[in-house]
């Protein structure tokens, strides 16, 4: 909360510089209006308008397309499998870094390395590992676990393809969640955990009763971002599975880049938007904090 002195100085500055802040934010607002809000409106028109009339034809084409069901199912599956796994992993990593481990600076540096790696790069990295004549089979053969290369990325085995994409995404995007958790953990006073420990709370009890509730705002932010990004899964799937598996974003991309039909592409992206917004709403609703607890 702001102190009285801060409030007085803020008040003083407000009176002196009433127009300046608006001038400073104007370029951003103008840019986002022109290259964000307006294209969004155009996307809406592409999906719903044909000439001067309303239409749902693009959506009909989308739903009746042979790939639609696969794309929808695989996208949902990715979100549902990746996000929970990665939250557990990220929480563990953040707790490790936040503990009194020696060399935690080094561990942190390692943990955040994939933070900026793109999904295309991650796809290529894991493709090189999982491919038939790749590194995983090499290691397994050295260990004597297999005597001929196993085909991990078998286009006829959907579960293995799902597993491959999940591993690649866990590897790439868990660092993002961990950074958010770590920032949240550092805002929790050590005294809370210590007090609970004095009263005999074990490690898991402390995590459940203190860490997780205090971390709720961070969990909310991380969930929002990760779910939205997971709905956009695209290049990682193309790089690992080729065309054996498809996602909603891949279909949007194909309709635009290969079939040159912006209307159906826009319908796919509208569906992604609706799914993102609905899950964002769910996250906000399910993890809402009652007003009286908002003292921070």
């Amino acid at each position: 909360m702001t102190t009285v002195a801060q409030e007085v100085s803020v008040e003083r500055r407000r009176r002196q510089w009433e127009v300046l802040p608006y001038g400073l934010v104007l370029p951003t607002v103008a840019y986002l209006a022109l290259f964000f809000a307006w294209p969004m409106e155009q996307a809406f028109k592409l999906a719903f308008r044909d000439g001067g009339a309303w239409t749902i034809e693009p959506f009909r084409t989308m739903v009746n397309d042979a790939n639609f069901k696969d794309a929808f199912k695989f996208t949902m599956l990715l979100v549902v499998v990746i996000v929970p796994l990665q939250f557990v992993l990220a929480l563990g990593m953040a707790l490790l870094i936040n503990s009194k481990l020696h060399g935690r600076g080094v561990f942190l540096a390692i943990f955040i390395m994939p933070l900026a790696i793109s999904d295309l790069a991650a796809g290529l990295v894991w493709q090189s590992i999982l491919t038939e004549r790749g590194y995983l089979n090499t290691v397994l053969e050295h260990l004597g676990l297999i005597d001929q290369p196993y085909i991990w990325l078998d286009p006829t085995k959907p579960n293995q393809l799902l597993f491959a994409v999940v591993v690649a995404e866990l590897w790439r995007s868990t660092a993002f969640v961990m950074v958010i958790f770590l920032a949240g953990l550092q805002g929790i006073p050590h005294e809370y955990g210590e007090a609970a420990e004095v009263f005999g709370a074990g490690f898991f009890q402390r995590v459940r009763r203190i860490t997780l509730p205090m971390l709720k705002p961070s969990i909310q932010v991380a969930l929002l971002f990760r779910i939205i990004f997971a709905f956009e899964a695209f290049a990682v799937v193309l790089a690992i599975t080729g065309r054996a598996k498809t996602t909603l974003a891949t279909e949007a991309w194909k309709w635009q880049a290969e079939y040159f039909d912006s209307h159906v592409a826009a319908a796919y992206s509208a569906l992604i938007l609706v799914l993102s917004l609905v899950s964002a709403g769910l996250v906000v609703f399910l993890l809402r904090t009652p007003k009286e607890q908002m003292a921070r």
Binding site: R13, P21, Q42, F107, A109, L115, Y135, V221, S262
Partner: protein, 276 residues
Amino acid sequence: MSGERGSPVVWLSRFGMYATAVLVSLFVLAPIYLMTLAAFSSQEDVYAYPKELLPRNLSTETMSFFIHFGGVLDALQRSVVVALITLVLSLAIGTPAGYALARFAFRGADTLRLSVVATRAFPIVILSIPLAVIFISWGIDDTAFGVSIAHTALALPFVVLTTSSVFAGVSPELEEAAMTLGCSRLKAFVKVALPLALPGLAASAIFVFIVSWNEVFAASLLTLRHRTLPAEVLSLLEGAPVNFRFAGGFFLMAPSVIVILIIRRYLFTMWGRVLK
């Protein structure tokens, strides 16, 4: 669990923590190592099986094959150009807004902050399709500039939020002191706030560069013959030889890892207020 110091339980749990940390580190590092190894293996090693796991037979053959494959070299240059234009545009436009959010309590500030965050809920997937249509009618389709415009729309919210965090970490009293001593508002900003904020701003800029360097969806929809590196790699992916994939993966991965190691000090400064 809260046994005495030095008791077997405490020792065991500490050992477990180190073991977990080492295991997770291996999970993170091994793929980076293997991709690097693959990219610098010789022509025979690329196709060999079982693969060489140690850097015994390093060679630049695979990398030079990749760089001279198709339009990769042009795409590489174009990616750098696109990322630089994006960086300049988004910082020039976004930094003033970040400064305003950090320094002034003005009507609409919270709305602005919220709507800037909310733009991330509208995926690039949705933005790219109408932009592809609009850019054709404007005649800037298939150009580096067009891709930068889309990337700036993507990076701008990030720049506004992170620069606002950075400026919030620079005490306003210092600027006020400079103004008391006769500096104009602008001069106080340039002479006092800007130098102090510079490392954080640089970190933000580097991150913008990598956001653009990585982006493939919009880039591949907005270009056809003049592709950026990720778009070029994506378009050649099907039926591309193994050495192309190995070197391409490394080329796309390496800058991101290096950049994160450079700016890691500033990660939490940048994100500090974004996450509250």
